[in-house]
């Protein structure tokens, strides 16, 4: 049976469903741009929930002040995506993104002037800019060296309260560890996602709260792995705090983890209600730049889908998400075939030592763009005026070592959406604000 093709006509197609793709959609929605977002959910489930702007500039220095770090970056690495946007844009991008998340049910703290020092499941400390409100208590407790209890659960791998305590006790003497059995999950392996969903049930909360109360001792605050509910976690946490009588906070677990799944599920719920066409779990097969529109084709289990867009933001990420492909002979961009700047040969991809302070050259490979984040062709001009790129696919950055993944995603999406708006205005392509992007079926 040949299934009929579903067609969508939009002003902007965002390809990719990671942080950059979601951010681009948020910025586009807020500007009334008729948008479709397509693409595998990629690596968003791998986020800890922490939104890093910039955490490490030189090889040996974790940054306390990311804004000063950005100014230094502009001098030392002018090609870095974060050096190509203004500080005002970065602030606006974080504020707008965080406000949207908060309003949509996953509250975040606002971006401040300094990095906050956040806890990791290994008992190390990570500089980051914004944390979910459920994790703010950990930042505060660490800063105050509060009398604090860390709780873990038997069967939850990769999260040991004793490990957190062992590694922080020297500077945080009033830190203590307890292991509990999670209610209803007495045996076997535990999965944070399942624990989080079960904590949306009141009886489970009450039982867990009782077990925590039993081991509370003199603790003024209690840290837990990130399992406090999947939807509206701050409400789950508030209820647990009321039952226990102490403030709580979450510590990220090993990915894929609850904070990333929360974001993904929230976007999938909220975006359609805001007029965005979301086709989340499908990969775009082809992109064709026709004169009148950019044509994207893909297929899901109901048949083929065609999207006709005036502009496109490519936010397909790097290797893990499939935005870049590393093969025996070199690195390529598999969807459009954009040129990828990269080390001259495979020999140069990685340094000898894994933890080399300089990081690995392969991570700075990527797509080179103009100032509006339009990818450049091999000849040096924009590949197509209607095509933009955002997020980690961009060249000249090492988001891992720089602790700047969310910063690049948000800032480049912000600038790209701004440029999309200008492009639509120029071409007169924007077909009316607040217009819904419903699919038309060609019968």
């Amino acid at each position: 049976m040949i299934r009929e093709e579903r067609q969508f006509t939009v002003d902007l197609a965002v390809i990719g469903s990671g942080l950059a793709g979601f951010a681009a959609s948020i910025f586009a929605i807020n500007r009334g741009i008729r948008t479709a977002q397509i693409g595998n959910t990629g690596a968003v489930a791998y986020t800890t929930g922490y939104l890093d702007l910039f955490g490490r500039l030189a090889a040996d220095q974790l940054l306390d002040d990311p804004w000063r770090g950005l100014r230094q970056l502009a001098a030392s690495q002018p090609q870095h995506p974060l050096a190509r946007v203004t500080e005002a844009e970065v602030r606006a991008a974080f504020d707008e993104f965080v406000a949207f998340l908060t309003e949509a049910g996953v509250p975040y703290g606002q971006a401040g002037e300094r990095n906050v020092m956040a806890l990791t499941p290994a008992g190390t400390i990570k500089p980051t800019l914004c944390v979910p409100s459920t994790m703010q208590g950990g930042v505060d407790a660490l800063a105050a060296r509060a009398r604090c209890l860390i709780v873990d659960f038997r069967g939850l791998r990769g999260f040991s309260a004793r490990q957190v305590v062992a590694n922080l006790r020297q500077e945080w003497p009033q830190l203590r560890a307890e292991q509990l059995v999670f209610p209803g999950m007495e045996h076997g392996e535990l999965y944070p996602e399942v624990m989080a969903r079960s904590l949306e049930v009141p009886a489970c909360r009450e039982e867990l709260a009782a077990r925590i109360r039993d081991v509370l001792g003199d603790a003024d605050v209690v840290g837990l792995p990130a399992i406090l509910g999947m939807h509206h976690p701050h409400l789950v946490m508030a209820e647990m705090e009321r039952l226990i009588g102490r403030p709580l906070f979450e510590i990220p677990t090993m990915p894929p983890a609850v904070p990333g799944i929360r974001l993904r599920e929230m976007f999938e719920q909220v975006f359609p209600t805001r007029g965005l066409t979301l086709i989340p779990q499908q990969k775009v097969d082809a992109v064709r730049f026709a004169d009148e529109a950019v044509r994207l084709s893909l297929a899901d289990s109901y048949g083929p889908i065609a999207i006709s867009a005036q502009t496109v933001i490519l936010a397909t990420g790097r290797f893990l998400s499939g935005g870049l492909l590393a093969s025996f002979d070199g690195i390529s961009e598999p969807l459009i075939g954009l040129p990828v700047t990269q080390p001259p040969s495979r020999e140069g991809w990685f340094r000898e030592q894994y933890m080399d302070k300089e990081g690995h050259p392969v991570h700075t490979a990527g797509i080179v763009t103009d100032a509006d984040f339009r990818p450049l062709s091999a000849e040096g001009g924009p590949y197509d005026r209607r095509l933009f790129a955002a997020g980690l696919i961009l060249a000249h950055q090492d988001w891992i070592r720089g602790r700047c993944g969310a910063g690049i995603a948000l800032a480049s999406a912000f600038r790209a959406v701004d440029a999309v708006g200008r492009e639509l205005a120029r071409s007169g392509g924007q077909s009316g604000k607040h217009q819904s992007a419903e699919g038309r079926r060609d019968v």
Binding site: Y46, D60, L62, P127, G188, Y354, M355, V362, H363
Partner: protein, 547 residues
């Protein structure tokens, strides 16, 4: 990690003293075999290694138990030894061996005269060899190339060198309390006249010096044997060093060992091993003994050559590559190291004026037991022990904590035990926490604190497609939970473990492995900050470096 210490710094004042009848230097297959052999003769020994078991060539080969076919052209004596030893090991060490069988195949363009002589040479060496039609060979091994023009079946097998060493050490421990001590490196010998009285050794983890007093000293240092002999003033050990690089595929691509039927060259042996296969090897003369790493060029050459036998190697997923230095006896002086003898030599150092040191070197994994027997014969004679060698007849018992290196053993035992609270820590290889607990409690070498590398060496943890990037974190957190780690040591061990695993990944990172690597680095560095453990920061405190 230990290679960063100056290799020949003088000993400090000994802080501990140990005594044994025989000190064996070098924890490869041969050293472990000597330990077992001596124990079965009632002789107590202490085995030391500057790193850990199989850190040299013993742990860096195909894991191939040669039928002997490989050597019928160049070294008929080695071929016969391989055949005889293969028979013995299949009987006494069955737990380490998979009787896969093997094929020798020539492809279109290979020297046909060479192929034609093969059966006759095998017969002369007593090696069972059955000619096959190319179509029959492809029926046995569908991955073989259409270009195969000649094929022979031989009784090759595969052998797990890590388990072999562990089982040998374990039996010696059980029989007479012989001791294995990892991370212990000889830095000087103390002599009196023509007798070595003791060896001064550095504990490479604590930095302390240990004096080991023994009646007899055995140098089983493999590629390092020449350096060790020189410490005793002996310059009659002459070795050539050949660097070999091998690759590990994600899948088991063949059932049998596949050898190229031509004079030995790059990428001409593909060996199945558990759930993977191992392709190799290149051969490169080198002077560097330490820190040898696979290069992209060696990887490319192995794959290019291997493709001729098994075309799927062109697009296989590779999860690891490794390089080791083989010690070759200096003889003849031919240009190709593969023509150098693969035989072994036992040197009694009599001509050097030393009465109680011997060196055993050269050889190959398949003949490790024979090498151990000859060495133990000499040592036993020197101390007046007349007990006969029993290693060819006594079965090696299954050591309780030695079985975890066998692919598939962990999930089988885990499933059989059926304990739902025994969670899996390494998902790629299905290693449960009970295996980790047992290894740190009683595996050979568990007397001292174990690193994650030491645990991985004694299990399958970290051997799968994620190469330890997830299970390293889970195992460390489990060990914190157990109270095994109580301070920053666990973080440092994690970092060192990932650094070590990376060395084997670096040259084969493309395709899916690149995605894997990106995720690993995001976790290890981006999230956990293991790249900044030593960085100055207002908020990250400095702990005591432990290693």
């Amino acid at each position: 990690m230990m290679a960063t210490l100056p290799p020949r710094s003088g000993p400090t004042r000994p802080t501990a003293s140990l005594e044994t009848e025989v000190l064996i230097i070098g924890g490869g297959a041969t050293g472990a075999g000597i330990m077992r052999d001596l124990a079965l003769r009632g002789i107590h020994s202490l085995l030391i290694d500057k790193k850990d078991l199989c850190a040299g060539a013993s742990g860096g080969n195909h894991g191939l138990l040669h039928s002997g076919g490989r050597y019928v052209f160049s070294d008929p004596q080695s071929a016969i030894e391989c055949r005889e030893e293969g028979h013995i090991l299949k009987r006494v060490l069955p737990q380490c061996i998979e009787q896969t069988g093997g094929l020798f195949v020539a492809v279109d363009g290979d020297d046909e005269g060479f192929a034609a002589d093969f059966a006759g040479l095998c017969a002369a060496a007593g090696i069972a060899c059955t000619p096959l039609l190319p179509a029959e060979a492809r029926e046995l091994e569908p991955a073989l190339s259409e270009r195969v023009v000649a094929a022979y079946q031989v009784p090759d097998a595969t052998i797990d060198p890590f388990r072999l060493a562990l089982e040998n050490v374990n039996q010696a421990r059980l029989v007479n309390g012989s001791i294995y001590r990892p991370h212990t490196e000889v830095v000087a010998f103390e002599k009196s006249g023509d007798v070595i009285v003791s060896a001064l050794c550095r504990d490479n983890r604590s930095g302390e010096t240990v004096r080991i007093v023994a009646q007899q000293f055995v140098n089983a240092g493999g590629a390092w044997a020449m350096d060790i002999a020189r410490l005793a003033g002996c310059d009659d050990v002459r070795l050539l060093y050949s660097k070999g690089t091998l690759l590990v595929t994600h899948d088991r691509m063949i059932r049998r060992v596949i050898n190229r039927l031509r004079p030995p060259a790059d990428g001409d042996i593909l060996v199945p091993g558990g759930t993977v296969s191992i392709l190799g090897t290149t051969s490169l003369r080198t002077d560097a003994l330490n820190a040898v790493q696979p290069t992209v060029d060696e990887i490319n050459r192995n794959i290019r050559e291997g493709m001729a036998m098994v075309p799927a190697l062109a697009h296989a997923r590779y999860i690891r590559a490794f390089s080791r230095v083989r010690p070759l006896l200096q003889a003849g002086g031919g240009a190709d190291d593969r023509q150098a003898t693969r035989g072994f030599a036992l040197i009694d150092h009599h001509s050097q004026g030393i009465a109680n040191l011997c060196t055993i070197t050269g050889g190959k994994l398949t003949t490790y037991r024979l090498m151990a027997e000859k060495t133990a014969d000499l040592v036993a004679a020197r101390i007046g022990n007349t007990a006969p060698c029993r290693t060819a007849v006594d079965i090696v018992p299954d050591g309780e904590a030695c079985r975890w290196t066998e692919p598939g053993a962990a999930p089988k035992l885990w499933y059989r035990a059926g304990d739902p609270d025994d969670t899996i820590l390494c998902e790629c290889e299905m290693v449960p926490q009970s295996a980790i607990d047992q290894i740190v409690r009683c595996a050979p070498g568990a007397e001292a604190e174990m690193t994650l590398e030491a645990i991985a060496l004694r299990s399958r943890a970290g051997k799968g497609p994620c190469q330890g990037s997830f299970c390293g974190i889970r195992i460390a957190s489990h060990l914190y939970d157990r109270g095994y780690y109580r301070d920053r040591t666990g973080l440092l061990h994690m970092r060192d473990f990932f650094n070590e695993r990376f060395k084997g990944q670096r040259a084969v990172i493309w395709g899916q492995q690149m995605a894997q690597m990106e995720l690993a680095e995001a976790l290890h560095c981006g999230l956990l900050g293991l790249d900044c453990l030593d960085s100055p920061s207002e908020t990250v405190t400095e702990g005591e470096a432990q290693s």
